[in-house]
């Protein structure tokens, strides 16, 4: 068994989990909303890409490009028309509405696409690999990881370098005063969820091309994403990437020891971090 290879695969897998998590982290950071349907929305995007690939014969990357604006609009509308109504001091309405949404999405997909496992065909890219010193890495896992880094860089640029990012942070600080500056919080929140759905679509591209998926795998992706966010510390996107890597490495190492322990090892790594650093590895100074 090649441990270096195992760990490297885990790091690259962590990139996928960071992609799952980045949208969740963004939305929570801005409006303190935890979307329990986040994983199911990734699956929706994966099916959308699948339909575009198989129906129109598009290249998966081109299909994802087409899906991006669709998912942005869907996220915008979801937030503007439904989730905004649930925001407030009480945490129950957003949790229960998004939990209901999760069930609705899963069963709508089951009705539309059956319970069969699917995969987005990515042609020769699926099997291509690069020699990297003593180990070889798959091109798709490498692309996933690089995309995760790119997404985090871009999100940080938006957050800290643009007027929109200032409005995100200002609204998160103080909604009423942001309103006095001309910010319409409902639109800002809708835009944030739209951006989160763009990240979700990128995550779905790699979810769909790298492994099989079916309508019911959303909740497990939500859990991985959530674990990455908590390990990294709320509000830190680089922390989220590290959290994803920790989950990913724990899973591949666990699987190398015993294939049945893959998922369990990831969860246990999360619980250990929760035990020793309850606020995550890079907690934000102010919550």
């Amino acid at each position: 068994m090649n441990w270096l290879d195992t760990i490297l695969q885990g790091v690259l897998l962590g990139g996928l989990y960071a992609l799952f998590a980045a949208g969740l982290s963004l939305v929570f950071g801005i409006m303190r909303l935890v979307n329990l349907a986040h994983g199911d929305l990734i699956v929706v995007a994966a099916f959308l890409i699948l339909v575009l690939v198989t129906g129109l014969g598009l290249n998966p990357f081109l299909a994802a490009l087409v899906a991006l604006p669709v998912m942005f609009a869907a996220g915008w509308a979801l937030q503007y028309f439904i989730l905004n109504r649930t925001l407030g001091d009480d945490i129950l309405p957003p949790l229960l509405v998004t939990f209901g949404l999760s069930i609705v999405i899963q069963n709508a997909l089951l009705e539309g696409f059956s319970a069969d496992s699917r995969r987005v065909p990515a042609g020769s890219l699926e099997t291509m690999s690069l020699p990297l010193g003593p180990v070889t890495v798959g091109v798709m896992p490498l692309l996933t990881f690089l995309s995760a880094i790119a997404v985090i860089v871009v999100l940080n640029q938006i957050f800290y370098r643009t007027a929109l990012g200032r409005a995100f942070r200002a609204t998160s600080d103080d909604m009423v005063t942001a309103g006095l500056m001309g910010v319409e919080p409902k639109r800002i929140f809708a835009t944030a969820t739209g951006i989160a759905m763009v990240v979700v679509t990128i995550a779905a591209l790699y979810l769909g091309t790298r492994a099989n998926f079916d309508p019911t795998i959303g909740p497990a992706r939500l859990i991985y994403a959530f674990e990455a966010v908590i390990i990294g510390g709320l509000g830190s996107l680089w922390g989220t990437l590290l959290g994803g890597i920790i989950i990913g490495v724990a899973q591949t190492v666990g699987a190398a020891v015993n294939p049945e322990w893959q998922i369990l090892a990831g969860h246990l790594a999360f619980l250990i971090v929760l035990l020793v650093r309850p606020r995550g590895l890079f907690p934000r100074a102010i919550d």
């Binding site: 007027a163 200032r166 409005a167 942070r169 200002a170 998160s172 600080d173 103080d174 009423v176 005063t177 942001a178 309103g179 006095l180 500056m181 001309g182 910010v183 319409e184 102010i286």
Partner: protein, 233 residues
Amino acid sequence: MLETVGLTAFYGDFQALFGVDLSLRVGETVAIIGANGAGKSTLMRSISGVIANGRAAIRFEGEAIGDLPAAKVVARGIAMVPEGRRLFASLSVEENLLMGNYGRKVDGPWTLGSVYDLFPILKERRDQSSTSLSGGQQQMVAIGRALMSNPRVLLCDEISLGLAPVVIRDIYAAFPRIKASGASIIIVEQDIGQAMKVADRVYCMMEGKVTLEGRAGDLSRDAIHAAYFGVHA
């Protein structure tokens, strides 16, 4: 240019304003004075759109704006310096200022440069977190932030609250330049002396009603005292 017509306002079942009539003319500075709980801040929050009112209760440049939300009110040119400054804690000083013109980008005298000109200390502190500033400097950021939208009307809610007299004097020293830039101003003050110095006209409020109105120079101390405390000498 701005007037309220029989303005009433409620917090839940509690009525805070009982038919307030107020008017502001172009270029004018009006002060609103009154004790705590007189309804001054509620009046400011109503005009700025934080509290929703009947459409016809507030008119601005001939249009009824009483039911507009805050973001639409500021877009029309009414900016507010809120009570307690309310800076954005996770934004730097400069980012706070830049938020000021988020919803209204018009050409005018106020830019980042001219605000730094008005309050030079802010230029030195531009990259600091807004929470690291002194109270007076924070108030300067709050005023500068409101100016960034080049407002037609500037609403200032209790800007001297909690500040030392020398700091208050520094801040009010900026008002002649703000006036000269063409903005009409409404200031809410508990400090009557300060209010009388900068204002052309004064409204005195008590228990949600206007009890006295007049030119700053024409009002006697006794009349203000009576209107302020409800004591009829």
